[in-house]
């Protein structure tokens, strides 16, 4: 009985290691927890055993989904090993790396086939030059790294925009706590009154991202940016458009990124098709502007301005948005080139209503966004 006991606990520790290879963040604490939990259940019942380990070891919905398969896989291997009296080790089945041109890699990544491993050893200087790398020229093997940088950067950016500030001029509400403290030494007579001001940040963001053919090389990165940003910053509404407009907010806020991308790729909106900026903006104006736009809202449009639709609609819609919103920031990946002039018809029509026209071709340019994100 005792030997059986030890082999079970050893197997559980091994199983935890196996899960760790599969991306579960399990430490000694979790291993201990898993072992402790066995004292409370009837572990001779395979199903009870599985559900108990599942309850203790999983930390997210994704892990819950993966767990059953991994569990079966692992214990099957163990059974096999017991039968043949040969130690088989659980093999971490690494997918072959994507070694094709950057474009193809990006596409496959978009479809959710991401690398299994995530390197976290990038040095500072490496990042430095990396953040100036144009999105359209990111080599395949550095795709993950770029995504990681954008993720970190957008989180930082969102946190910055999120920071609550206190106004110092207006005196609105007396701060009872501080007032009382201040006047304690005066025998409880209220002579000095302290004031507090509500910390607030009312900036709302609306981001419209162009995902048409001409933006293909950039849109994956920009979506990552939008996704990570909306994870931290809650006052944000996100949209994607090519030939029509699609509301992304619920999707980007609910699911994890890989899952979100997968859902997006099966949506009816023709991704990577032609662009009809005018129609898309018009849809936005008729369906969402009333509700989403006010003078505390900054609208960010991520597009190269290539338009195959009605240019007049662009102009009209931009006018409405301009009138309702606080500020319009147009981020154009092409504006990163020194020789760039906004000569495309769509861009020309929109130009009079744009408050800020800035490039968005590399991580550095995204970082600079913070200077515009205030009222």
């Amino acid at each position: 009985m005792i030997t059986r006991h030890t082999s079970l606990s050893r197997n559980i520790v091994h199983f935890c290691r196996f899960l760790r290879q599969k991306g579960f963040a399990l430490g000694v604490e979790e291993e201990t927890l898993a072992l402790t939990s066995l004292t409370y259940i009837d572990y001779s019942n395979r199903d009870v055993f599985r559900i108990a380990l599942k309850a203790v070891l999983c930390r997210s919905q994704l892990q819950l989904q993966e767990f059953d398969e991994l569990f079966t896989h692992y214990w099957k291997e163990i059974d096999k090993a017991l039968d043949s009296k040969v130690q088989t080790k659980a093999k971490p089945s690494l997918k072959p790396g994507v070694n094709e041109a950057s474009f193809k890699a990006l596409k496959s990544w978009l479809n959710g086939n991401k690398h299994e491993e995530e390197e976290q050893t990038a040095s500072y200087s490496f990042q430095e030059s990396f953040s100036r790398q144009d999105f359209s020229k990111v080599p395949a093997d550095e795709l993950q790294e770029m995504m990681r940088i954008i993720k970190a950067l957008s989180r930082r950016l969102a946190a910055q925009a999120n920071r609550r500030y206190e106004k110092t001029i207006k005196q609105t509400q007396p701060d009872l706590r501080r007032t009382l403290r201040k006047n304690m030494r005066l025998g409880g007579e209220l002579l000095k009154i302290a004031f507090k001001k509500p910390k607030k940040n009312r900036i709302k963001l609306v981001i419209l991202c162009d995902v048409s053919k001409s933006m293909e090389l950039y849109s994956a990165f920009l979506l990552q940016f939008m996704y990570s940003f909306s994870q931290v910053y809650s006052r944000i509404e996100t949209f994607a458009f090519s030939t029509s407009l699609q509301h992304l907010t619920p999707l980007l806020k609910k699911t994890d990124f890989a899952q979100a991308l997968q859902t997006l790729s099966v949506q009816p909106t023709s991704w990577s098709g032609g662009t009809r900026i005018g129609e898309s903006l018009h849809t936005f104006v008729t369906h969402y502007a009333q509700r989403l736009l006010n003078k505390q809202t900054i609208v960010i449009i991520l597009s190269d301005g290539w338009d195959t639709g009605d240019v007049k609609l662009v102009q009209e819609s931009m006018e409405t948005i301009h009138a309702r919103a606080r500020k319009i920031i147009w981020l154009n990946p092409l504006a990163g080139y020194t020789a760039y002039k906004p000569q495309v018809a769509g861009m020309q029509a929109a130009l009079p209503y744009i408050d800020v026209l800035a490039p968005v071709h590399n991580a550095e340019s995204l970082q600079k966004l913070s200077q515009w994100l205030r009222l």
């Binding site: 927890l33 259940i41 009837d42 009870v48 203790v56 930390r59 706590r177 009382l180 809650s234 806020k253």
Partner: protein
């Protein structure tokens, strides 16, 4: 019923029957997670779409353990004063006014006004000073700010709260904590690691039908079945706000109150507002109603009559 009081003797089967007794229809993973979180004394993080009964778990848990439920509703901007404690300033002021003429030193006065009777306990402090082990429900934790989340982490690991004027208060009983989230924001890894995790999805047809029968016992069997089938189909659609079990129950109750014994297109159209609460969705559902009904099998059933 002795098992209720002594937690260490609770078995998995007990939890299962307790949940059932309280009218909570569930599956193995829910009772296992509840059981282990009780035994291991770990907080339980429950995630899942809106309206699948996440909050209900805590209520049932409290009823099952015959203890009190203390609830902290999170929202954006929630801070320590709303979660922990606040001094009753007005009362302190009044008290100072009243003892103005008495020969008390400033220090003495200070001591009285910073005593227990002037302290307003907010949920977290309430939970750790409670006379018996309570169930602490931290609802929609993902709505709070990240700062609050880290603060919560501290409380959940130390189980003590420091009030500058009084000192450190250590928990008399460590509460049974249940956190719920809608995934409006990704929670931090640190908080996840502190908890056991449970994901509750929309129920399948059999489970939902059981729930409806349990909560609306007077319902017509055919109507109930049709409602559940319709809901299963409705959730397949890509809606802005997918209706949960709460909506199913509302609908079932509404239709029963109207003495309706089967679904048809007109009835659904008239009562859609009970289920769908977004006008985009309403339009979408109205347009594909015939298709939905066909999938639900409502028409074929009527033909058989």
């Amino acid at each position: 019923m002795e098992a209720h009081k002594n937690l260490n003797n609770v078995t998995l089967a007990d939890i299962r029957s307790l949940l059932l007794e309280q009218g909570y229809i569930t599956d193995e993973s829910v009772s296992m997670s509840l059981f282990l979180s009780l035994q291991l004394n770990k907080p339980l993080l429950v995630e899942g779409p809106a309206g699948v009964g996440k909050t209900e778990i805590a209520k049932v848990m409290a009823r099952a353990l015959q203890t009190d439920l203390i609830r902290l509703q999170c929202y954006e901007g929630l801070d320590a004063t709303h979660a922990l404690y606040e001094w009753n300033y007005q009362r302190q002021l009044l008290h100072l006014k009243m003892v103005e003429r008495e020969q008390q030193s400033v220090d003495e006065k200070e001591q009285t006004i910073f005593s227990d009777q002037f302290l307003m306990k907010r949920p977290l402090l309430q939970a750790i000073t409670h006379s018996r082990k309570p169930v602490l429900l931290i609802d929609e934790v993902d709505r709070s700010d990240e700062e609050f989340e880290s603060f919560l982490l501290e409380v959940l690991s130390e189980w003590q709260i420091t009030i500058p004027e009084i000192g450190t208060i250590t928990a008399t009983h460590i509460p049974q904590v249940i956190l719920t989230g809608n995934r409006t924001r990704e929670l931090s890894e640190a908080l996840r690691r502190r908890c056991l995790y449970l994901y509750i999805d929309y129920p399948d047809f059999e489970k939902e039908w059981l729930i409806v029968r349990q909560k609306v016992p007077q319902i017509d069997a055919r109507l109930g079945e049709q409602i559940c089938r319709f809901m299963q189909q409705l959730r397949q659609m890509k809606l802005e706000k997918t209706p949960g079990v709460a909506e199913t129950l509302d609908w079932a109750m509404a239709l029963t109150a109207l003495h309706i014994d089967h679904l048809d297109k007109a009835i659904i159209e008239q009562t859609l507002g009970v289920l769908i609460k977004d006008w985009h969705d309403t339009r979408q559902v109205q347009m594909s109603l015939s298709e939905l009904l066909e999938k639900t099998g409502v028409y074929s059933k009527l033909d058989n009559l």
